[in-house]
Chain length 225, copies 2
């Protein structure tokens, strides 16, 4: 735990950690991270997500086996479809070895947290079908990010993954959740990382930022003030 870590430095140095030591993680630390997750915003403050924390060997192995199979399919489908350009492909290749390690060793992580999102029977649309008010993703993923940031504040490593969704029904059934009621939004392994926290490689935010109209890169007042 780094008491002097500033909040923005903490955000900037939170990165995916996919290799962990054997040291166990006290449930109390996971509870603190879940308390941070719970403070995330949600539409209408309905707080729709549920958390399923796996710490025992049997459920971790069941989910670990499914995760490996899901990752095999995911990895095989990537080259021809996902990447929009060479930069995106190279970004993937930089992390692919660590991702493969996680897929082969997920059950060894001290804890695995499943973030569950309720299915909306009415499809998130209003009576005439045209009004999308069921964007539950916007209510669940901020909680996942809060969890990962709080963990990093405690020195714990995490990685936000969605690959288990490939075999989501089997995974839910393996841990006693009804696939008719919930889907898995994210799977997050938790452990003490073997690597170090730091600023992960990203393109400069300026390359993705537009001011006042699409394509305008001029920061307001940058030349005139």
């Amino acid at each position: 735990m780094e008491e002097s870590l500033g909040p923005i430095e903490m955000i900037m140095t939170t990165r995916a950690m996919r290799r962990f030591t054997d040291e166990p993680v006290a449930p109390e630390l996971i509870r603190r991270c879940l308390a941070a997750a719970q403070q995330a915003p949600s539409g209408g403050n309905v707080q729709p997500q549920q958390y399923l924390v796996l710490t025992e060997p049997a459920p971790k192995e069941a989910i670990g086996n499914l995760y490996r199979r899901a990752f095999d399919r995911y990895e095989a489908s990537l080259p021809e479809r996902t990447f929009r350009n060479d930069d995106q492909r190279q970004s993937w290749e930089r992390t692919s070895r660590a991702s493969r390690h996680l897929a082969d060793h997920l059950a060894e992580a001290p804890a695995i947290v499943l973030f569950l999102q309720p299915l909306i029977p009415w499809g998130g649309r209003d009576a005439d079908g045209s009004l999308d008010i069921g964007r539950l993703d916007a209510s669940v993923y901020p909680a996942v990010q809060n969890f990962c940031l709080a963990a990093r504040s405690l020195g714990l490593g995490t990685a936000l993954t969605t690959v288990i969704r490939v075999l989501g029904t089997e995974a839910l059934e393996a841990v006693g959740v009804s696939p008719a009621e919930y889907e898995i939004a994210a799977l997050v392994p938790v452990g003490w990382p073997t690597g170090h926290f730091g600023v992960a490689p990203r393109k400069p935010p300026e390359k993705a930022t537009h001011w006042d109209r699409w394509g305008n890169r001029d920061v307001p007042g940058a030349s005139g003030q």
Copy 2:
């Protein structure tokens, strides 16, 4: 700016702020928040999101007018459809006045940030249609949350909203973005808040947490260690 704010305290006290003073927000502060957003994780590290920051009156008013119309429809559709129980309805009612205020005054916010998510032409599925590997929501909303947390670290108020999606096509066209290429994942107003940061009302995380199997509330080792 609170230099002594601890990282977990910062996360716990980040809450939606929907009323702002007239004081402008320096673009440099928004750029720092976008740098934090950019460090969020994304599938394959592809960093798919784009940011459109509105600070000039004309685009803010165009989006503000659409937001008010979208909120009117959203609000009207809520009672009969969204809430799963009385707790959820009461949570909504607590914030509904502030949400209405934001809807009526969005254009007056010093800045409005649109988080844009690319549409996936192939639908995020693999060749046989069965593999969901296009969960871009999981790549965009963590960035939105990082943005809001970084803003709070600087003393800036934000609110993660998705209501503009009701009129998403019109909103995109109003700021020169092709609705064939992007959708709006979130709209976040930014300003110096009139209220105070603090721990927002949430149900206890224990009520949403299960250990090792669905429905098990016993924390591992809580009685035996």
